[in-house]
Amino acid sequence: MSRRRRSWSVAVLAVVLVLVAAAGAVVALTDREPPTATERVRAVASSLRCPSCLGEHVADSTSPVAESMRLVVAEQLDAGRSPDQVRAWFADAYGDEVLLEPPRRGAAWALWVVPLVVVGAAAVWFARRRGRHTLGTTAAVVGVAMLGIWWLAPGLLPTSTGGALTAAVPSDAGDGDRAGSAVSVLRDAAEEQPGRVELRTALARQLEEAGRTDAAVPHWATAVRLRPMDADLRYRYAFALARTGEPDRAVPVLEQTLAIDAHHPPSLLLLGSSIEESDPERSAALLERYRAARGGAEAEP
């Protein structure tokens, strides 16, 4: 291979590599997903200092003030204000010290100017040391100027009105989807540890919330089998049976519940209303006991 052809192929290869790398960056640059509402709130909140804590920002702090501030950030972003406007609003209320990126005014100005002066001095020193290369000096000047724009421009530009931004904010992950995946996680876990009542009840609850009470019934049954003396569990089992159209099966469960805890109010109520037609007399007695138990419970505190 001749020398010339070789250098050609190297050049072509280099260009191809640069193009491949650039392609990725360009795709990333142009096809970015817009942040969700939660992400936008978090981004603004994490640039605000929690006024009642030491060295924490509003997004991470658990203090009550920070919680209220997060709500305000969400409210204002929802109302279509831009992040910069929200920050300016907080600076009005709490003073500039609430901004974790100091503003380009007042004493805080020094925090932007001092580093720029240092960098400028370093660049001048660096360029001079290298002799009289105009190229180097020009590069240094351009570099420092670009840095100056990057550091100082956000304070000099007027804050934009954030109206356009709100149009395309995707909502957070759908709730239905989340419930579905939580159910499958719980089911996996319940299969792995069949003896854990907590897992069974959590699974049954999530199934009920997803509107699948029929699927929840066997899990309530297992939970009751695992912890037979738990009146609340028994009641939930009976309730699920009653809702799926099997009140006949619910009745013996409730009878046993009352054998364990004769004054369990929800069981009294459910059993009383279940047997209203078949045994009105006992039903009335049960409902009376329910009212007594409720009244007693309310009088207590």
Binding site: L17, G24, S47, S52, S68, A189
Partner: protein, 817 residues
């Protein structure tokens, strides 16, 4: 009360101080005594005597300090409560490990630990500076002994043997909650102390006005050791912050964290000035400056941490030690700067390398100098962010916050440039066959492309591409032509560079994390992206004087059950401190970080935070790689080290020093000129809504009256105390035109109404259940009171309970105006 061992401890400290002074004097005499030609290895009699007396005294000093440490440790392990210090830092429930490490959990003991680290370094240095000529070595040892003496004085001023008990009670639960806190300070101190040797060497070079033979190799070895220890120490600190504090991050840009980063940056830059393959450009000047700077920053870090000068979570409590440490810092900086000035400009009198070498360095020299400049600029920027807010507070009284957004904006450009130079490192190293750029180029381009398309983050794509390039390009391979196997320096630097590159990827990728927070009843699910956690159990138990709430959550990913998280919340009733025990499930791709923020086992609900952060594990791997690189590179080299020839050189005068001297003046001028904010009171924020009595109120309707707006809640005890004052003021001044309007913040209606009737509040209160209305008023915490004048302007605010004095001096004049 003072006991025998305590007196012994003080005596031991005094003996060590005296011995260190003697050692410094002996070495000082040895350094000054006229010897033969420089570099001669035949010392005369005086020097010989000095050379004997010096090490002996230093060993005496070291033994005394070891004795003092031992005394204190024995007292701590036996928990001898007759010692006020022991009583302060330990409590009866502590295990032996935490009692032993409690030595450095308070100011005085940690100073003793620091002294022990320093004297150990000095003793080791006597044995490892033999490459230097005896005269030069005497200067180095004189400086080290003097440092031991200076910190000996500091340790006597704040001694654990004479310290008072203090009112602090038992030590912070944070320090006895995790094993890493016992290891972190000694590691960091060892690294800090090791930087003392480069400082001493820097002084020696400035005194001799040249780089003595053996200087570079000695500096390099000590610096690599210091760098390795510091990397491990800083990394461990970040890991502790991540794994224990429960806020989900690892670096908060807190002043104390930054203070430990500054010496690390100086050490890193020095590494690239004295490394055998980076001696190019003006490396000699850089080496002398950076070697001195590292230890000066260590002392600065001590000042920042121990003086209460800056606000930080990690700082020791405010102590009177500030002036002492400031004097020490001054005492170290001034002579060093004086020596620098004596040689006009370091580049002038010091052998800045033959001009030919600087020019001959060509592109490589420019790049290496540029890299040192960049690291130093990063150092200065971090120092500005750490110290300038405090300086501004003292100078102008204005509070300025500097947080992660500022550091991101200021440091990002330099970080990117440094990454580019990192990628170019194999082509910048001397004495090495550079690799062919094709393979690394292809790997880098492919990584950039793939990451860009899959993650859609251009910054991450570029950083990942550069990192992939760096890792591939630096792979130490057997040279094809020479058949030489790569030496340890090459392997070490590749490991460290790979660590830095991976760390950069991890840091940038970390911004893609998601955080969700919710109050979950048992059985409910919180989702963040594809990850779900379902609360299945919540209970509380007592454990050795603390209450532990424990939650069990099922972790699911894409609907698959992947494991169980058991975060804890530990409540220390004695200290009224709540510590989080986050549960972290690390995987190759991301960390699932579950924190229990609040737990109410009675009602079966918990406030849970779920954070999913990508590639956090890579960061710890990166730190380990860097430490491994440091260990490999610090292993002794086979064969004698080549020492560069010493040359004196007087070059052309450069006005840099003068130009740099103008800087502080310029900065001060700018600060002075910065327009002060006009303190003209602005209009009061809006406040309108339903009152506790069900009627609508609006502060704007009260225009024309002076209005006191007071934020209160029924759960706030100080509010109870201030109410009579407010009620009296209202009754007294109502006729003169004073209105009072309450904001009932984050409260429940029933207790709030009860509060109103109990306190006999004569004024209405607007309900602000979520606290959002009071945020507009800049509320930091209840109680707080605001004064609005007749024109509706917010003229005064009073945080905390209102006093009669405030009413008399501020409110009444405004009403009667």
């Amino acid at each position: 009360m003072t006991t025998g061992p305590m007196v012994t401890g003080t005596v031991l400290l005094a003996v060590s101080l005296a011995a260190a002074v003697v050692a410094a004097a002996a070495w000082g005499a040895a350094a000054r005594s006229p010897a033969g030609p420089a570099g001669s290895r035949a010392p005369d009699r005086t020097a010989g005597r000095g050379a004997r007396l010096g090490p002996q005294s230093l060993v005496v000093s070291a033994v005394s300090i070891a004795g003092a440490v031992l005394l204190l440790e024995v007292a701590l392990l036996r928990r001898d409560v007759t010692w006020p210090y022991v009583e302060r830092v330990t409590d009866s429930g502590m295990s032996a490990y935490f009692r032993a490490t409690a030595m450095w959990s308070a100011l005085e003991g940690s100073l003793l630990l620091w002294l022990a680290a320093l004297v150990t370094v000095a003793v080791v240095a006597t044995a490892t500076t033999r490459r230097l000529a005896p005269q030069d070595r005497a200067v180095v040892m004189c400086v080290l002994a003097a440092l031991v003496a200076v910190f000996g004085v500091v340790s006597l001023v704040a001694s654990p043997f004479t310290a008072a008990g203090g009112s602090g009670g038992s030590p912070s639960p944070l320090l006895r909650d995790h094993v890493a806190m016992g290891v972190h300070p000694p590691l960091l101190y060892a690294g800090f102390a090791a930087l003392a040797v480069p400082y001493a060497l820097s002084v020696a070079a400035l005194v001799r006005r040249r780089l003595p033979p053996g200087w570079t190799a000695t500096t390099r070895v000590w610096n690599v050791v210091a760098w390795t220890l510091l990397t491990a120490g800083v990394g461990l600190g970040a890991w502790w912050s991540y794994a224990v504090l429960g806020w989900g991050g690892y670096w908060a840009w807190d002043p104390v964290e930054n203070a430990s980063l500054l010496p690390w940056l100086a050490s890193t830059a020095l590494l690239h000035a004295v490394g055998p393959r980076t001696r190019s450009g003006r490396w000699r000047t850089w080496a002398i400056l950076l070697a001195g700077l590292g230890f000066l920053l260590v002392v600065l870090a001590q000042l920042v941490t121990r003086s209460g000068l800056v606000e930080s979570v990690h700082a020791f409590t405010t102590s009177a030690l500030g002036p002492v440490l400031a004097t020490v810092l001054g005492g170290l900086v001034l002579p060093w700067v004086a020596l620098l000035v004596r040689s006009r400009s370091p580049a002038d009198a010091l052998p800045a390398g033959a001009v030919g070498s600087a020019r001959g360095g060509g592109v490589r020299g420019v790049a290496l100098d540029g890299q040192r400049t960049l690291l130093t600029v990063v150092l200065v920027v971090v120092a500005v962010g750490t110290l300038l807010p405090t300086a501004l507070l003292l100078l102008t009284g204005d509070r300025v916050s500097v947080g992660p957004p500022w550091y991101q904006r200021t440091l990002a450009p330099f970080a990117l440039l440094l990454l580019v130079l990192l990628a170019a490192a194999p082509w910048l190293a001397r004495n090495r066959q550079p690799p062919h750029p094709l393979v690394p180029g292809a790997v880098g381009a492919a990584t950039c492309c793939v990451v860009g398309i899959t993650v859609r983050d251009p910054v991450l794509a570029v950083v990942a591409g550069l990192a992939a390039f760096t890792v591939t390009a630096g792979v130490p391979v057997r040279s094809r032509r020479g058949g030489l196997s790569p030496d340890r320096h090459v392997i070490g630097s590749w490991l460290a560079h790979a660590g830095v590159a991976l760390g950069a990827v991890a840091v940038v990728a970390g911004s893609h994390g998601t955080v969700r927070e919710a109050v979950l009843p048992v059985g409910e699910t919180l989702a963040s992206g594809d990850t779900t956690v379902t609360l299945v159990r919540l209970d509380q138990h007592d454990d050795a004087g603390r209450q532990v709430a424990e939650a069990e959550l099922l972790v699911g990913q894409d609907g698959q059950h992947v494991g169980t998280a058991v975060p804890e919340l530990r409540w220390y009733p004695d200290d009224a401190a709540m510590l989080a025990g986050p549960d972290i499930r690390s995987s190759f791709v991301d960390d699932v970080y579950v924190t229990l923020l609040d737990a109410d086992p009675a009602s079966g609900s918990a406030n849970v935070r779920l954070a999913v952060t990508p590639l956090v594990g890579w960061l710890w791997a990166a730190v380990s790689l860097a430490v491994a690189g440091g260990l490999v590179a610090s292993a002794p080299r086979r064969g004698p080290a080549r020492t560069p020839a010493a040359r004196t050189h007087r070059g052309r005068s450069v006005h840099t020093t003068r130009a740099l001297a103008v800087l502080p003046a310029l900065v001060l001028g700018l600060v002075g000129c910065a327009a002060a904010e006009d303190d003209e009171p602005g209009l009061a924020p809006p406040l309108a809504g339903e009152g506790l009595d069900g009627q609508e109120y609006d502060v704007a309707e009260l225009r024309g009256s002076v209005v006191l707006v007071t934020a209160w809640a029924s759960w706030c005890a100080p509010c109870r105390d201030e109410m009579p004052v407010l009620v009296d003021a209202h009754e007294e001044l109502a006729d003169s035109g004073l209105e009072v309007l309450g904001i009932n913040v984050r409260d429940l209606r029933d207790p709030a109404r009860q509060f109103v009737s109990e306190q006999g509040l004569s004024f209405p209160s607007i309900v602000d259940q979520q606290g959002t209305k009071s945020v507009a008023w800049g509320l930091r915490g209840v109680p707080a009171t605001y004064l609005v004048d007749r024109e509706g302007r917010l003229v005064e605010q009073h945080p905390g309970p209102v006093t009669q004095e405030w009413i008399d001096t501020v409110v009444e004049p405004e009403v009667r105006r």
